[in-house]
């Protein structure tokens, strides 16, 4: 046990614990300054994905579409892509267009790179923003493949080694800021803001890709922002080839051959540091150690202080959470990150599940909890919520930790759900959830401990008011 592969006797996916690839790609493009995502395919894909993202981020999310009709599906999408690009350039004046395909355009075999070349040829002599293309057939992988694929495709399209020589020369100059790349994976805007703060406090220059911390969590407007302010600039992505190093989060991602960080290492010699999502103390320590290594400076005192307060809180609360059983679900790397944190505080992640099917999650969890089988921990890959609920009925978790889509299961099993990750469709703070760093671990710990305490208090006959 316990990687439970689907057998030949096929049954349907019931209440998926994953989304399709173009969603992940769209999210990445929303984190690039001046970029407009364009889905090459049917109107429904862009509308459904917009709707889904809007319900989580509660922000306007404009995603264009090349609007296939029946004849497009027969004769190919070249003309539609051209019209779509022209209208986007006219209406949005973008600094970049991120073009992601859908299963429809992929299956009819549209040659999007050729369409883009033709489009550029037609508009030769005109100023043209970069048109970045990623192939995202939704029958390959999940939204996470779309997400990481779009990061990689953008870097591949835009990164140059210009400035690499300058960098070497600058290395000699003590006053030059060290610049790093950070590929954080699919985190919340609040996470991205916290990561920016940390890098800034280390005195680092950085390219955080993607960075939707402002574009998908911004203030009110007086007029509609065709493209919300913020995001990684195209220039900064161009400079990723000359950075002092790359940090790439995700233990599962690290098992993949082809990532943005690995591409930069191979092409431009930019060293790639693969780390887990910095959720919990151990993974955050590793993140800070890497930053210390790159910058040659110690961790700024405020983080050591935050770590100190956090460990103090873990001691104060350890008995309440000790041996509490949790079911954790969501994207593979998020699950691995949460498992790492839970194993630090004495919570047993009795059920770890993801709709992802990279094949790496079991191994990564085993790295954290080598005797997971003896502990009765069940790990489900390529799972849906009916699988998760069935497994939960057996292992009887005290609480669920994951996105909103687990609510119905948690409700049926009468266990509280601690909402993290994506999507959070039934609360208003999806964009403001903090998972990473010592501050993220602090908030997670407080929520978990207080949820357990609250449940015991509610379940007690006398509703105590003092612990």
């Amino acid at each position: 046990m316990f990687s439970e592969e689907k057998t030949e006797e096929y049954t349907a996916t019931k209440n998926a614990c994953k989304l399709c690839t173009p969603l992940g790609a769209s999210l990445v493009f929303k984190g690039i300054q001046g970029a407009v995502p364009l889905l090459h395919g049917s109107q429904g894909c862009s509308t459904y994905i917009r709707r889904y993202l809007i319900s989580h981020f509660k922000e306007p999310i404009d995603i264009a579409c090349s609007n296939f009709a029946e004849d497009t599906a027969i004769f190919g999408g070249g003309a539609n892509l051209r019209i779509a690009l022209e209208n986007i350039l006219l209406q949005y004046a973008p600094e970049m267009v991120g073009i992601a395909t859908t299963c429809l355009s992929e299956t009819i075999g549209d040659d999007v790179p050729m369409f883009i070349r033709e489009f550029k040829e037609m508009h030769r002599g005109e100023e043209m923003p970069p048109l970045v293309h990623i192939s995202t057939p939704s029958y390959q992988g999940t939204h996470m493949q779309g997400f990481h694929g779009a990061v990689r495709a953008t870097v591949e399209a835009l990164a140059t080694d210009q400035g690499a020589d300058d960098r070497k020369a600058n290395d000699q100059k003590a006053n030059e800021k060290t610049r790093v790349n950070l590929f954080p994976g699919m985190l919340s805007p609040e996470d991205l803001r916290h990561l920016r703060e940390i890098l800034t406090d280390f005195g680092l220059g950085f390219t955080l890709l993607p960075d939707y911390s402002e574009t998908l969590d911004g203030p009110l407007w007086t007029e509609y922002q065709r493209i919300p302010a913020g995001g990684t600039t195209v220039d900064a992505i161009g400079r990723t080839g000359s950075a002092a190093g790359s940090l790439e989060f995700g233990r599962v991602l690290a098992a993949e051959k082809n990532t943005a960080g690995k591409f930069l290492e191979k092409e431009f010699g930019v060293k790639c540091h693969s780390l887990g999502l910095p959720i919990g103390i151990g993974e955050t320590d590793r993140f800070f150690k890497t930053l210390e290594f790159i910058t040659g400076m110690p961790t700024p005192p405020r983080y050591a202080e935050a770590r100190g307060r956090l460990t103090d809180a873990l001691v104060d609360g350890h008995k309440y959470v000790s041996r509490v059983k949790a079911a954790v679900f969501g994207e593979e790397d998020l699950v691995v990150g949460i498992v790492s944190f839970l194993s630090e505080i004495g919570v047993i992640p009795v059920l770890c599940a993801s709709g992802g099917r990279s094949g790496h999650m079991v191994g990564k969890i085993a790295e954290i909890i080598p005797d997971y089988e003896n502990k009765g921990i069940r790990i489900l890959e390529d799972a849906d919520f009916v699988d998760i609920e069935a497994a939960a009925e057996e292992v009887k978790p005290d609480l669920f930790i994951g996105n909103s889509k687990g609510y119905t299961s948690a409700r049926r099993l009468n266990a509280p759900l601690i909402r993290i990750g994506f999507p959070v469709h039934d609360r208003i703070n999806g964009g403001r959830l903090l998972h990473v760093g010592y501050a993220g671990a602090q908030r997670l710990f407080d929520r978990i401990a207080n949820t357990v305490i609250g449940k015991r208090q509610d379940d007690s006959s006398w509703g105590y008011t003092y612990m």
């Binding site: 006797e9 096929y10 049954t11 349907a12 996916t13 019931k14 209440n15 998926a16 989304l19 399709c20 173009p22 969603l23 395919g41 049917s42 109107q43 429904g44 894909c45 509308t47 459904y48 917009r50 889904y52 809007i54 319900s55 922000e59 306007p60 999310i61 404009d62 264009a64 579409c65 090349s66 609007n67 296939f68 009709a69 029946e70 599906a73 539609n80 019209i83 690009l85 022209e86 209208n87 006219l90 209406q91 859908t102 299963c103 429809l104 299956t107 009819i108 057939p137 029958y139 390959q140 009110l220 407007w221 007086t222 007029e223 509609y224 922002q225 065709r226 009916v386 889509k405 119905t408």
Partner: protein, 450 residues
């Protein structure tokens, strides 16, 4: 300010009343790159069939289409809740290459065995249309083996607009109609079409008709049951709400079974009352029905009237923008907003036809912007220009309103409270009041309009 350019190809779909000549260009495929608020054929089918609670709904395609439509609607059931599951064949790469028929067959058989549904709907998504799976043949085979209707829904996303999805759903439903026994059906009986029981609306409306002495044979598809649909041809009258969704079925039933139909709306006091009176008038040889209807309308209005009167002064003169799926809903909303003392400054729909837009033109005041198949840029532009205080739309419109610092009311299928019927009008008024009069807007920076 409002420097947003309007795409030339879209100029014929934007009209300000008073600037003749009026000739709305509509019913067109959405313009590529325009960021339309519309969805697709599959969406249309899914909306209509979703509330049938004792049927299996299996989406044949890669995971996205199923994931994005999992339990997002507020359609309630008084019994089974099979509709709230999201089943998908979740096609992978090798299925796309070798075809998905085997997988579809296996998934259908297993799901039917596990859930014992009364019928199964199989939705074809974009890719199934391309790889050419013979969905009809698989459905036929499974129907024979399992002894329940297994109905293909031809809802490939690219094959038209959401409206074509309504038609595909109606085609599938029509295969059930006429299959059940009708001996016990009363001569004073109706079907309710185009009502999806959002937040329990169908229950309220059913109850009004029941109190009038009219039997409701089936609601299509709110709190829907397969057996009710099968005997729905026994009803004397089809009462169709919403111009787009289920008129197709009403037409088909009229042709095959001679069932007449009327069109109604359940939104707002005026339209709700008319919906009851029109049915009573149809059964004019039973004058007691009309008498009871008058009583019910009086009773229901008196129940909500005092609070509506208390709410109205705060809303007097406030300006509203409406952008909804079907134009028919916009008509009712204009009346309901006027009742509350509000002015409508923008009215648009995703799927209106020429007659709908002419009706809108006739109903609206001079200067009102009328839009077909709009996008966020256009909607926000006119909201600002027309100084709207309220936007009524769905989930995709909500952040547009909120970002621009104005109130919002969700009048789409995702909402969880009933806005139909008399009680619904009160809910609507309360929601509009809560959002328009909220103190939070004083923190919103206001646009300076030159």
């Amino acid at each position: 300010m409002t420097s947003i350019p309007i795409l030339r190809e879209r100029e014929g779909q934007i009209y300000q009343k008073g600037r003749e000549p009026f000739k709305m260009s509509c019913g067109k495929h959405s313009l590529a790159g325009s960021v339309s608020q519309r969805a697709c054929v599959f969406c249309g089918s899914r909306v209509v069939l979703y509330p049938i609670a004792d049927a299996l709904h299996l989406i044949h395609g890669p995971i996205g289409c199923a994931a994005y439509t999992w339990d997002i609607r507020g359609a309630l059931s008084s019994g089974p809740t099979l509709h709230r599951y999201s089943f998908s064949t979740d096609l992978r790469e090798k299925d796309v290459i070798f075809g998905g028929e085997k997988k579809l067959y296996s998934a259908l058989c297993q799901l039917i065995d596990a859930h014992q549904p009364k019928a199964a709907f199989v939705y074809s998504t974009c890719i199934v249309g391309i790889i050419g799976d013979d969905v009809e043949a698989v459905c036929k085979k499974v129907a024979k083996e399992k002894g329940i209707p297994v109905l293909p829904v031809h809802s490939e996303g690219f094959k038209g607009t959401k409206k074509d999805g309504y038609q595909a759903a109606c085609d599938a439903l029509f295969k059930l109609v006429g299959e059940g026994p009708t001996e016990a059906v009363s001569p004073c009986s109706i079907n309710i079409l185009g009502e999806f029981n959002i937040g329990g609306e169908a229950w309220m409306i059913r109850d009004y008709y029941k109190r009038m002495g009219v039997e409701v044979v089936s609601v299509m598809t709110g709190d829907g049951r397969v057996d009710d649909v099968r005997r729905s041809h026994g009803a004397a009258l089809n009462v169709v709400q919403c111009s787009g969704a289920m008129t197709f079925l009403a037409e088909m039933m009229k042709e095959r079974f001679g069932t007449p139909y009327i069109r109604v709306s359940y939104f707002g006091l005026e339209d709700q009352s008319k919906a009851l009176y029109d049915v009573a008038a149809h059964f004019s040889d039973h004058p007691e029905i009309m008498a009871k209807t008058r009583e019910i309308v009086r009773e229901e209005i008196s129940a909500v009237y005092p609070e509506l009167q208390r709410i109205k002064p705060d809303l007097e003169g406030k300006r509203a923008a409406i952008y909804v799926g079907g134009a028919f809903k916009a008509f009712s909303l204009i009346k309901a907003l006027r009742y509350l003392g509000m002015d409508v400054v923008l009215a648009g729909s995703q799927t209106g036809n020429e007659a709908d837009y002419e009706m809108l033109r006739d109903m609206c005041d001079d200067g009102t912007v009328i839009l077909d198949d709009a996008n966020p840029l256009e909607l926000s532009k006119y909201i600002i220009e027309k100084k709207a205080d309220l936007f009524i739309g769905g989930v995709k419109e909500r952040p547009i309103a909120f970002k621009m610092g104005i109130g919002f009311c969700d009048h789409n299928h995702e909402r969880k409270i009933p806005l139909a019927g008399y009680e619904g009008m009160l809910n609507f008024a309360r929601e509009v009041h809560a959002t328009v009069t909220s103190p939070v807007w004083k923190f919103a920076p206001k646009a300076v309009i030159s």
